[in-house]
Symmetry: C2
Subunit: 135 residues, 2 copies
């Protein structure tokens, strides 16, 4: 997970996507973004409570990663007791739109059939097009 597998892929774009995926694919990241998007601004423990089950360690870690990626901004109020507020950046909000699209796509395809029984198609001897013959 720490490094991109084969960076020299044909179309280039995917590399960057994978990069983002490495961050977003980690546990909680997505839920953090979601909570941030629905509440606009949120404090550390508030977020922690909303994600009940997460530990401070991991939450802090995820938040740091997201900040490094420019998806989350952190605002520190030098008070006592300390207050820190997290919020999404504009770019993260753009991302959220894409995620919503993804969600819509998921819903569109997962509701109808039960998506079981893969049962690979077995072609008959008379195949329609054998592009690659055996080596």
């Amino acid at each position: 997970m720490s490094e991109t597998p084969s960076t020299e892929v044909k179309h280039g774009a995917t590399c960057a996507v994978i990069d983002i995926w490495e961050v977003l694919g980690k546990r909680w990241s997505l839920l953090i973004i979601k909570n941030l998007s629905t509440k606009e601004t949120i404090r550390f423990n508030e977020l922690k409570r909303a994600l009940s089950g997460i530990s401070s360690t991991v939450l802090s870690e995820r938040l740091l990663e997201l900040e490094r990626e420019g998806l989350v901004t952190k605002k520190i109020y030098p008070e006592v007791p300390p207050r820190v507020e997290y919020s999404l950046t504009a770019q993260a909000k753009e991302l959220e739109v894409i995620i919503k699209e993804l969600a819509r796509w998921v819903g569109r395809w997962k509701r109808p059939q039960s998506v079981a029984a893969p049962a690979a198609t077995v072609a008959k001897k008379e195949e329609q097009s054998s592009t690659t013959t055996a080596s």
Copy 2:
């Protein structure tokens, strides 16, 4: 990774997204989809070679997962030597569009600045809007 953390999230949609994320977030999944999308149909070892670095074990595993999710179809030709061809389903192609969008988004925001120096904003005592007062 095996189970969804807190399924009872406010907006629901995310759960399904997380589900897909669990599959797509795994290593190689995205690259597999990419290769499949650029070649339309591909054989096992051909794919393996294209993803140089992946092991048969993992490739087979990913392929099975993607098949279970209805993103990939498998076509077995009962010949000798055996031939198996993988290809994307229509739904996966829809997904590809979204991924491309994501790629575009990544490019749009990652090229300009180096994305370093998080340096959280420190608010002055006189904050502009304290929505949440201390508990």
